[in-house]
Amino acid sequence: MWIYEKKLQYPVRIDKCDLRMARYLFTQYGGPDGELSAAIRYLNQRYTIPTNEAKALLTDIGTEELAHVEMIATMIYQLTKDATVEQLEAANMGSFYAIRDGALFPADANGVPWTAAYIQAHADPITDLHEDMAAEQKARAVYEHLLNLTDDPGMKDALSFLREREVVHFQRFGEALRIVQEYQQQKKIY
């Protein structure tokens, strides 16, 4: 069960209309290392993970990732909502407009639609937690690329927050991995 909370996790300040940046942000909406991939990856891996620590973490981080999907979508929406067709065309988003006007769609910055092929699940907890740790690092790297592409203070603030969350999640998944390894060694003694 999930309960919706009618607020963003972190305030998103959009100071100027920046369509170029809106397009780049799509990669964290529906791209391979984006927030949607993260949420589905963790929430889907929960069912076969053995320890309660990892069950809790996949549930809680998966839920936080849904809040990040909402933040990224909000940023894209606010950056694009007042744009004219001419502005969209000039920002290389004419093809986005042609298909769906201003609607959001989970796709990467090139318009490639989100696919479940971006995530993995193997039931092996060592494998799955390594996948999760790698995913957090990949997302951190992408946020650093995005930070390099903008000098807008509001944008930088929100992206820095999201980047920092990847670092914390990586840390927690590392701890969950250690606990799983201890659990597996314990079982051998029995």
Binding site: I3, D60, R172, E175
Partner: protein, 84 residues
């Protein structure tokens, strides 16, 4: 509008502290100090949430927040419309 944003910001801060402690506690279940901090922020959050909801309507759906008349869940701004 200014006051609403300020109160919302306080909620975001308290909830962030609680969330961060929750993730930490997921891998440190015996850390009593962290648990005390978590319970502290949980209390702060419910006080702030109550104040916000009295003024600006429900934050949570499905019965986790009460509503005044008429059904205040419909009120704007929605999170993606919020101007900070």
């Amino acid at each position: 509008m200014h006051e609403r944003a300020a109160l919302l910001h306080q909620i975001q801060q308290a909830e962030f502290a609680a969330l961060e402690l929750q993730l930490y506690l997921d891998t440190h279940m015996y850390d009593q100090k962290a648990l005390m901090e978590f319970n502290h922020y949980s209390k702060v959050l419910s006080t702030l949430k109550q104040e916000f909801e009295m003024k600006y309507g429900p934050l949570l759906s499905f019965g986790f927040s009460p509503s005044q008349y008429p059904w205040r869940w419909l009120e704007s701004p929605w999170p993606w419309e919020e101007q900070y």
